[in-house]
Symmetry: C2
Subunit: 438 residues, 2 copies
């Protein structure tokens, strides 16, 4: 048969991994999932394709430009660009079937037709949790979230990371007290200070119509530093009578107190008044998380409190708090930084059984024996020279090889080789099992 060969390739901006890397990626995803589940979050799995009128109900902004939108028949379809809009639709649609507070996690791919650049992906995994209340949701939920972030990154093997929090009521109240009109504009500038630098930020604030004096006050405020307790004390002592500000201070104080109760060490949790989360739907607590050994990655887990999740789909008031981890980008950046280099377990498979000569049957029996005992075991079934068979185990980083020759078959033994140390010994089935699991 003669076919035209189409050169095999994937689209730019899409991540696709070789199996050894995919194994590492899946470990991260599994750890995140298990941690989310350990706090009582339930899985949902919304469609990747939704009606455009649903996904674009809010409309406006970058979203619409980046969305993958198309028609099938007479239907206007889009690929989801995040997991929050589908959650809002889901909760509104299933309102009467759900139990509130509704705690859900979703780990899935989302799509954004971004400009193609290194480290930016058009298809990427988000790992989200949200707690959605019916009419109201206790502020204590805002304090539990950092403990979940802490567990996730701890379980992923990190120690040196900082969960930074702030509160939008606090910021808004402060700006209101300064009689600033364009609060959203100011928030946007603060959000990118670390990127653009103080000088450019000052320039931008001045061009928002702010005076020198106000700009100076803003910088003084957002740079308030010290221990969490010191910052809280300073905030309380600021002579600001704005109600939003006072509520914000109360909220961040409560959250800070309970974050400690929930078991987050002081070293991993920091009030930072520069954190704003540009997205306009946050209304209270906001979070960002930084891996201190990898500062260039930026925030690896962000989120916050919102007043009303699903206002475009229902008249029910559904306040919530949630976070998202952009796993594809996180994996990419960690990999670039060499994080996975020290990972030894690049194989899921523990044992490769290699039958020599005519001993397939006997090889199958040891493979069945080990698999029954939950040892992940593969059997090499091809005709090949021993060196090629061993090379296969080596390339796939399978830690143990079991060799079956005539002698072993006759004696009901196996020869087991540790592929890392090179050690080799002949034992019975149980002996092989013991070596593999210890």
């Amino acid at each position: 048969m003669k076919n035209e060969i189409v050169k095999p390739s994937i689209l730019p901006g899409f991540m696709e991994l070789l199996p050894a890397d995919q194994i590492q990626f899946n470990k991260l995803a599994d750890t995140i999932r298990k941690t989310y589940e350990s706090y009582g979050f339930m899985p949902i799995d919304t469609p990747v394709i939704e009606k455009s009128e649903i996904l674009l109900a809010k409309g406006g902004g970058e979203t619409e430009k980046q969305i993958y939108r198309f028609s099938k028949g007479s239907t206007d379809l889009s690929l989801r660009f995040d997991l929050t809009v589908p959650l809002a639709r889901y909760v509104a649609q299933n309102y009467s079937s759900l139990t509130f507070p509704f705690r859900r996690y979703q780990i899935g791919k989302v799509y954004r037709g971004e400009r193609n650049q290194k480290g930016r992906f058009r298809e990427f995994y988000q790992c989200d949790i949200d707690i959605v209340g019916n009419n109201n949701l206790n502020i204590l939920n805002d304090a539990e979230i950092p403990s979940i972030i802490y567990s996730v990154f701890n379980n992923l093997g990190f120690q040196d990371f900082t969960i930074k929090i702030n509160n939008r009521k606090l910021l808004n109240g402060f700006f209101e007290a300064l009689e600033i009109q364009d609060v959203a504009g100011v928030l946007r500038v603060i959000d990118k200070i670390d990127k653009i630098g103080v000088l450019n930020a000052t320039q931008e604030l001045l061009s928002c119509g702010l005076s020198n004096e106000i700009t100076k006050k803003i910088f003084e405020f957002i740079n308030i530093s010290g221990s969490n307790q010191e910052i809280l004390l300073l905030l309380k002592n600021l002579d600001i009578s704005n109600t939003n500000f006072k509520v914000g201070v109360d909220e961040i104080s409560t959250v800070t107190k309970y974050v400690k109760e929930f078991g987050v060490p002081d070293d991993n949790f920091k009030i930072d008044l520069k954190i704003t989360r540009g997205l306009d739907y946050y209304t209270g607590t906001v979070y960002e998380t930084f891996l201190n050994e990898y500062p260039s990655i930026g925030s690896v887990c962000s989120g916050g409190r919102y007043d009303n999740l699903a206002e475009y789909y229902t008249k029910q008031k559904l306040p919530g708090v949630g976070i998202s981890i952009g796993l594809t980008r996180l994996f990419y950046q960690l990999d670039e930084a060499g994080f996975f280099k020290n990972y030894n377990d690049k194989s899921i498979t523990k044992v490769l059984v290699i039958p020599l000569g005519n001993n397939i049957d006997y090889g199958i029996s040891i493979a069945n024996f080990l698999r029954d005992k939950k040892v992940i075991t593969e059997i090499y079934l091809e005709d090949a020279k021993l060196v090629k068979k061993l090379g296969y185990a080596d390339k796939l980083a399978i830690p143990f090889v079991i060799l079956i020759g005539d002698k072993e078959a006759e004696d009901k033994t196996v020869t087991i080789k540790n592929m890392v140390s090179g050690e080799q010994t002949t034992v019975d089935f149980n002996g092989a099992y013991e070596i593999v699991v210890t």
Copy 2:
């Protein structure tokens, strides 16, 4: 804020589950994944969107009509409609980085714009494994596949199921011996005998240009029955000298012998000469799997051997053997048949901690204690009456509730309630842990 409310809904033909059902769905998916991994299959995760020229390289037929195809900028894109074409592209693209035989699994969503009807989905999960050889692949791999199917359905909780196999060389050889021209047409008719009935099938065969006599011979052949050994004996004794036929008989004999070695009980494995797998790329062994208690579901796991996986993307010859489980449809059909009714564990969460009065801190400490010991624990943080808090646990089917009142906080105890039996007892932290895990 006043928004236009968009009625929340999803597209027809898309499955979306409530959390309790999603938990069951994920258990099936996890079991399939773990079983695939236990045989040494490695994960890959190809993009949902690919270049249309890649996905449609083979072209023709139903595929092109059903595909979700669209443009973004000047790029012609499509959503994958199966996991086999992306595998072919993946193996061709990464040929020099992969180790052969390449054993991969992929569990992911695929898209087909099918006519909307009950039980048919436009977005659905496929769970695939394939073993791809470089130039050649031992027939023993064809014998291992049924043992993996057996383990999957056994691990999913089924006993009464039948893995049926046949061999396309055997069929093709038989038809060649009868000097039938339109082999593909005949295969298509046989493939649907169970659907259309023998009478209609006869009619269709006659209208393929076959004589009465030939048609009769075909029916005699495909209806050969008995034990696997009896069928093999009958096949060997048929006086057919066609080479394809002879190779087919050899292959199915070898596969049958080794399937037994691989541990599949006789009851679960049956040669059935009516199995053809309409798809034209199979060239040897073919499989279908039936749950005998749910005959209306049809085959729940199908696949087979192919000579050349990636002929549209590379000149390398890559023979392989694989299977696919259509998980979304399987879940839907099992659910319709009441399969999940008897499932008790509708909750991932094991314990709900309910602090009463002012005992949040103490409540958090028991939650932290249990979670450290790997017990999935949630804490109820809202202000509500006790009956509402208990109702929350009840609705979510959480099996244990821990109540924390002033007395418990003072005595450093907890009151633990079994939500199924109603039993309630007051114990210390360790006592609660013991109750939960036993």
